[in-house]
Symmetry: C2
């Protein structure tokens, strides 16, 4: 059974679900930084997924990358699956700007996270509201 890694749960805000992946927002207002987690148990590498799930992960990753580029007017999208700290397979999709705090370096380990306010999270959900596609299901907002 799929269970979200506790570290991912602590560091993120639940946004919703694609057919394969849970979509999380990293709770760090420094960057529009999202994480996709395939809802499969005991997977740490992309090649552990079935071929169908691999295709689903890449399709959802690419779709989210394009959505974020548009919605956040990003200069560049960073996509990465590292997993050196959190073993559960997860894919980072991050909107980057030439003037963001870490540019041009990768975001990991650069600056302390700045938690979002509830209003900021609601604003992000609203911006994503019409563009994630018909297969995406938003989570209920937890107050």
């Amino acid at each position: 059974m799929f269970m979200l890694d506790t570290r991912l749960q602590q560091d993120t805000v639940l946004i919703g679900d694609f057919p394969l992946c849970r979509v999380l927002l990293m709770n760090d207002a420094n960057y529009p930084w999202f994480i996709l987690v395939p809802r499969r148990a005991d997977v740490s590498e992309v090649f552990h997924l079935s071929n169908a799930d691999q295709a689903g992960l890449w399709a959802e990753t690419t779709h989210l990358a394009e959505v974020l580029r548009d919605v956040f007017s990003a200069d560049k999208i960073n996509i990465a699956t590292l997993g050196n700290v959190v073993g559960q397979l997860h894919m980072h999709v991050i909107a980057r700007y030439r003037e963001d705090m870490a540019w041009p370096a990768p975001v990991w380990g650069r600056h302390p996270a700045v938690p979002y306010t509830d209003a900021q999270i609601m604003a992000i959900r609203e911006r994503l509201g019409s563009v994630m596609g018909s297969e995406f299901v938003f989570s209920e907002v937890r107050v």
Copy 2:
């Protein structure tokens, strides 16, 4: 027409070609660190590729990831496309070890590159010789 970015050319050693991607070895003996570059002109984001090329990029990335895990007995494979410095779309596929110099951090910007010797590069080519699959074409060795 596809032309390899000059920065990528300077920092890497040519290994060969998959049907879509050029395969480069980062000239840094700190990590088994490979780079895939789709042989397409003027592409900086994965969603700029045609759907067929997107599928090709992901298939070649996943295949290389599994090959590297096996050949280098890696603890973890890191996969990333960042492109904040080099605009040409390229995919990092890196074999990581719990005892490597940067672990558990990502490799970028951590330690100065340690160039390979010619003998080390030949040894890596030999290790890859039988496992890259029938669609992979090794480059000629430039002496």
